[in-house]
Each structure stands twice: as structure tokens, then as C-alpha cells.
């Protein structure tokens, strides 16, 4: 039976879902406090919108969809604050012949597994991910962090499979360039 507004047990929501939501947000914004605020806002918005919740999906799915929107809003705000694009992340479609130079790894990358300190590298990697364009970032995180099925991502973003793999490839190359700068230099 559907829960009424008065029946909502906020404590249960926080206890059951906050860790999942927090992890999801934390992986996407790379800032613990901000992730916490986003989760709190999500619960707050959910409480306000509870009357309109048609219960076609589970509460968990609904909360995640609210959180996703909040993260996208945050990314957009971040994007609009940027005064100019970061040159390392511009993609020149005409420059296809140069892709191979861009993908050639340097020796440091091959040594990564041996040398990394996970926490610091995670920080560097996550901050590099924040620099990806919005759509690319969402797709990349869904695939590499959430391990979502490629087909599911294609449906969600309404892209073709070949488009999806091009986006993944470009994101990898851009992240490699960013990591070379942030981590290895």
C-alpha cells in the first residue's frame, strides 16, 4: 500500500539510503561536504514532492533520480562559472589523424600500478573527471564507476553504441592527458 505523507519515516530513509546516495554523489562531485549537502537536499526535495510521487518506481529509484538532477544542476553551475574552455579538453574532430600520438602512453603510465598511492591518485583522477564535459562525464562515470551496462547507458543518453564507444575513448584520452599533468608531472 502507498505510504501517505504523514507515514514517511525520514529516519528510515536516511538510514537506508543515505550511504548509497552519498557514494553516488561523492563519485560525481569529488567533494565530501558537497556530496553530503546534495544528499540532504535530495531528501528535502523528496519530502516536499512526496505528494506528487506516483510510486511507479521504488523510493530508492526516485531518490536517485532527484539526486541525479541535483548533480547535473551542480555541474551546469560549475560549467557556467568557467570563463574559457580548458584547452586540454577541447576535442578537434578534424584532428583524427593525430589520435595515435595522443594515445601513446608514456612510461610513467605503465608504471602506475606499482607506484600509486590510492587516495591521492583517486583525488587526482576524480578531479580530472570533473573537467570532462557534462555529458561525457556522466557517461564515463556510469560506465567506469557504476559499471552500468553499455546498452543501458546508450538508452539513457539516447546515443548509439558507436557514439558511446567514441565518447568513452575520448574521455580516456582526455583523462590520461589530465593525469599526466596532475599526477605525473
Amino acid at each position: 500500500m502507498a505510504e501517505k505523507k504523514s507515514d514517511i519515516d525520514l529516519n528510515t530513509w536516511v538510514d537506508e539510503y543515505s550511504d548509497m546516495l552519498f557514494n553516488f554523489a561523492s563519485n560525481r562531485v569529488n567533494d565530501r561536504d558537497l556530496a553530503k549537502d546534495l544528499v540532504q537536499d535530495t531528501f528535502f526535495s523528496a519530502l516536499k514532492a512526496w505528494d506528487r510521487f506516483e510510486q511507479k518506481s521504488t523510493v530508492k529509484t526516485w531518490l536517485f533520480s532527484i539526486l541525479k538532477r541535483k548533480i547535473i544542476d551542480h555541474w551546469r553551475q560549475q560549467q557556467s562559472r568557467k570563463t574559457r574552455p580548458i584547452s586540454q579538453f577541447t576535442t578537434n574532430d578534424e584532428d583524427e589523424n593525430n589520435w595515435i600520438e595522443a594515445t601513446t602512453p608514456n612510461s610513467e603510465v605503465n608504471e602506475t600500478e606499482k607506484n600509486i598511492e590510492n587516495t591521492e591518485l583517486r583525488g587526482a583522477l576524480m578531479s580530472c573527471i570533473q573537467l570532462l564535459p557534462e555529458k561525457q562525464r556522466g557517461i564515463f562515470i556510469d560506465k567506469f564507476i557504476d559499471n552500468k551496462d553499455s546498452e543501458e547507458i546508450c538508452n539513457e543518453y539516447e546515443i548509439t553504441s558507436s557514439n558511446f564507444w567514441v565518447i568513452i575513448h575520448r574521455a580516456k584520452i582526455q583523462l590520461k592527458g589530465c593525469l599526466d599533468k596532475k599526477w605525473f608531472e
Binding site: S26, F44, L47, H169, K172
Partner: protein, 74 residues
């Protein structure tokens, strides 16, 4: 096979098994192409980095959860 196709197969192979035909084509290409061999290594290391990240899941502390409950109610 061109490098572009090889790179595409390398990207896919991080996530699913290639067909025997594609595997052989890629192997033959990589035997002759140092750049694609390098990209394959990079791609493998890169993917493994994310394995470490997803294992390192963060949680909110009990205090943070209590504070959150208070903030939402207020």
C-alpha cells in the same frame, strides 16, 4: 585493420570478450603496431584504477546522519 579500429576493439575488450576473429585481428595488428600495444597496456591499467576506486566506498558517519536528519526536519 587500421589503428582506429584496433583502439575501438581495445576499448571494448576491457568490458567484454571479443570474438575469436576480432581477437586474432587485433593480435596481428598489435604485433606490428607499437602504439596500439601501448594503448592496450594503458587501457588495461586505466581500467584497473577504477576497480580500486569503486572498492574504496565512502560512508557517512552516524553523527553525520543524525545531523542530516536534524537539518531536514528543521
Amino acid at each position: 585493420m587500421e589503428c582506429k579500429e584496433a583502439a575501438h576493439l581495445i576499448d571494448i575488450s576491457d568490458w567484454k570478450k571479443l570474438s575469436l576473429k576480432d581477437k586474432l585481428r587485433l593480435r596481428i595488428h598489435n604485433a606490428m603496431c607499437g602504439n596500439c600495444r601501448g594503448y592496450k597496456k594503458f587501457s588495461h591499467v586505466f581500467k584497473s584504477l577504477f576497480g580500486d576506486i569503486t572498492q574504496a566506498q565512502e560512508c557517512l558517519t552516524c553523527e553525520e546522519k543524525e545531523e542530516m536528519k536534524k537539518n531536514i526536519k528543521s
